[in-house]
Amino acid sequence: MSDKKNIIICRCNEVTQEEIEALIDQGVTDIEMIKRLLRIGMGPCQGRTCLPMVISILARKTGKKPDEIKLPATRIPVRPVPAGVLVGEMESDGNEE
C-alpha cells in the first residue's frame, strides 16, 4: 500500500499523513488538538494548504461530516509580516548574517 510517510499534508511544518493518522488513532480527534500537537497550519502559509486535507482525513477516520469540523481560528496577521515593517522601519540594513 501507499507509503504515508511520504505523503505531506502540511508543507510548512513537514507533517505527514502517517503522523496525523497515528494521532487520530491514539484518540486525538479534535482538530484544535491535532493542530497544536503537530503544529499543522501554524507555519508561514497559516493553514491555507493543509487544513482542508486535515479536515478530510479527520472526517474519513472519525465518520464525522466535514461541516461538523470547525475551522480553526484565522489569526492576525493573515500574512506573516516582519516586525520591522509594523514599526514602519524596513530599510534593509544588512543586519542579517
Binding site: 508543507r11 475551522l71 500574512r79 534593509s92 542579517e96
Partner: protein, 478 residues
C-alpha cells in the same frame, strides 16, 4: 526555457529591461517586471529550499503568494515570498535550508507611524470581481481604494488565454488576458480609484464606524487603509491532495503553471501530467500545448469529465488522453518530479492493483479544485459555513454580497468558487451595494444591481449552475 513565440501571447514586447540577479552567488539573467521565482525557473532552478527537519526539497506550488512554498532569503531577509516579489538588479537570493540565525549586533529599530490612506470603499483584490467592484463603486460616486498583492491587476485573468463563455456583453468570446487589459484600463481611467499593487492586506478590523485594512507594500511599507465599507475579493487558492511525493518540486498547482507560461513566458517543463479534468485542468492542457509542452495525459477520479465538454474535445483532438476513474498514486524523483504513477480506481475510490501506469513527466499539474480565500473575513469575525458546492468554507452573505458584518462585502471566488464571469457580476453588485450602503450612490443604482442579479440567474440557469445554486442557497440570508 523562456518562450519566444506563442500563438496568443507576445512576450518579447512585454519583457522589461534585462537585469542580473544572484542565486546562491551565481548570476542569473532576469527581466524587470518578473517575479524572482519566474526568473529562477527560466534558468532551470526548481528547488528553492530544503525543509529544516526532514530536508525535503521545496519548489513553488501556488505562485500567487498563498502557499508559502517559495520562501527564500532575499537580500538577507528570510522568508520572502519569491513568487510575488519582483526581481531587482543585483538581488541576492539564497536557499533556506535551516531555520534562520539572527545577528547578535543588530541595532534597535526606530519607528515611524504608518502611512494612512482614506477612502469610501476599500477593495481587497484586483481580480475580475475586485476590478468590477471598483469600476462600479467609483461610477456610483465613491472614492475607491483598490489593493492587490500581485505586481499586476487582473487576478487570474492575466493568465487566461482562452476565450470566455457567457454573453458578449459579459466579454464572451474575449480572451481572459484581454478582459484584464480592458478592465485595468477602465480602472486606471477613473480618478476616484487609487491603486496599490504588491500590497498585502494583513488584517481587517472594525474601528468604530470605520473599517481598517492594514496593508504591507512590497514587504516593506506599512499602510493603513480606512473606509466606510470594505469589499473582500481575494479570490481562491488551489487545493492540494494527498499522494506520495506530493511536495516534490515539479508538483505545481495548475494556476502556478499558467502564471509561469502565460504571465511570464516561462516554460514550466517539457512533459506534463494533469490531475483533474475540470475546466481548469482541461484549459491548462490546451494552454500547455499552445506553449509547446507535451501533455501526457489528464487523469480524473470521477467517472466523467467535470469541465465543459468543448474544452475536453479541444485537447482530445490534439491527442491528449483523458483517463476518467483514474488517480495519481505517486510522484517520483530525487530532487524534482521525474515520473508520475497513476492507477484506475474502483467504485469505492480504491486503486485497482495491476492498473498502474507510469508517465515520464517533469511536471505534475494539480487541477483538483479551488477553495475560497476567506482568511480576512474569518479573521474579522464574519460567520462562515462549510459548503462543498462552493469549494469549502465560505461566508454567510445576503443577495447583495454583504456579509454578516455590516459594511463588509464579498465578491468573486472568495464568496464561493465559480467563474470569472460570475465574479465580475458579483463584483458589480458588491461595488454598487457598498456605495449604496454608505449613502453615496443614488437609488437609481438599484436597477444596476437588479440587472446584474438577473444576469447571474441566467448564467447559473444551466446544469453547471445548478450545483452552485445549491451552494448559494446555503449561504445567502436576507
Amino acid at each position: 526555457m523562456r518562450l519566444t513565440e506563442h500563438p496568443i501571447l507576445n512576450f518579447q514586447e512585454k519583457r522589461g529591461r534585462k537585469v542580473t540577479i544572484y542565486f546562491e552567488g551565481q548570476p542569473i539573467e532576469a527581466y524587470e517586471g518578473e517575479t524572482i521565482v519566474m526568473a529562477l525557473h527560466a534558468a532551470g532552478i526548481r528547488v528553492l529550499a530544503y525543509t529544516p527537519n526532514k530536508h525535503r526539497p521545496r519548489g513553488l506550488f501556488c505562485a500567487i503568494g498563498k502557499c508559502a512554498s517559495c520562501l527564500m532569503t532575499v537580500n538577507g531577509i528570510p522568508n520572502v515570498r519569491t513568487c510575488i516579489t519582483l526581481v531587482e538588479d543585483g538581488m541576492d537570493i539564497r536557499m533556506q535550508r535551516d531555520k534562520p540565525k539572527l545577528p547578535k549586533d543588530a541595532k534597535p529599530s526606530k519607528w515611524k507611524d504608518a502611512k494612512k490612506v482614506f477612502g469610501d470603499i476599500v477593495i481587497i483584490g484586483g481580480g475580475p470581481a475586485g476590478l468590477m467592484a471598483a469600476i462600479n463603486a467609483a461610477d456610483a460616486g465613491a472614492k475607491v481604494i483598490l489593493l492587490d498583492e500581485n505586481p499586476m491587476l487582473g487576478g487570474q485573468l492575466v493568465k487566461q488565454t482562452h476565450k470566455f463563455f457567457g454573453k458578449r456583453e459579459q466579454f464572451a468570446g474575449v480572451r481572459g488576458v484581454k478582459i484584464a487589459e480592458i478592465l485595468e484600463d477602465e480602472v486606471r481611467k477613473r480618478e476616484n480609484i487609487e491603486i496599490f499593487l504588491e500590497t498585502s492586506a494583513i488584517m481587517l478590523l472594525q474601528d468604530g464606524d470605520e473599517k481598517l485594512v492594514v496593508g504591507v507594500r512590497k514587504n516593506k511599507e506599512l499602510i493603513e487603509f480606512r473606509g466606510k465599507a470594505v469589499i473582500v475579493a481575494t479570490g481562491a487558492m488551489e487545493k492540494m491532495i494527498p499522494f506520495e511525493g506530493n511536495d516534490l518540486p515539479g508538483v505545481y498547482g495548475a494556476g502556478a503553471i499558467q502564471t509561469l507560461m502565460n504571465t511570464y513566458g516561462v516554460k514550466p517543463g517539457e512533459r506534463v501530467l494533469i490531475v483533474g479534468a475540470g475546466n481548469v485542468g482541461l484549459i491548462l492542457a490546451y494552454q500547455l500545448i499552445q506553449a509547446g509542452v507535451e501533455v501526457k495525459a489528464i487523469v480524473e477520479a470521477m467517472p466523467k469529465i467535470g469541465g465543459y465538454f468543448v474544452h475536453a474535445a479541444k485537447v482530445r483532438r490534439l491527442g491528449v488522453p483523458i483517463l476518467t476513474r483514474h488517480t495519481i498514486l505517486k510522484a517520483e524523483g530525487e530532487e524534482k518530479v521525474e515520473k508520475a504513477v497513476v492507477a484506475q480506481i474502483d467504485e469505492r475510490w480504491r486503486p485497482i492493483p495491476g492498473t498502474e501506469k507510469v508517465f515520464d513527466v517533469d511536471v505534475i499539474a494539480l487541477a483538483v479544485g479551488l477553495r475560497p480565500s476567506i482568511e480576512l473575513l474569518h479573521q474579522v469575525g464574519c460567520q462562515i459555513k462549510y459548503v462543498p458546492e462552493l469549494g469549502g468554507h465560505v461566508v454567510i452573505r445576503d443577495s447583495r454580497m454583504e456579509t454578516t458584518i455590516k459594511g463588509i462585502f464579498v465578491a468573486g471566488d472568495s464568496a464561493g468558487i465559480e467563474e470569472a464571469t460570475t465574479a465580475m457580476l458579483e463584483g458589480k453588485i458588491a461595488g454598487i451595494a457598498a456605495a449604496l450602503e454608505i449613502g453615496i450612490a443614488s437609488p437609481e443604482w438599484l436597477k444596476e444591481i437588479q440587472k446584474a442579479q438577473k444576469e447571474l440567474d441566467e448564467f447559473r440557469a444551466g446544469p453547471f449552475g445548478r450545483k452552485v445554486l445549491e451552494g448559494i442557497k446555503k449561504v445567502v440570508v436576507e
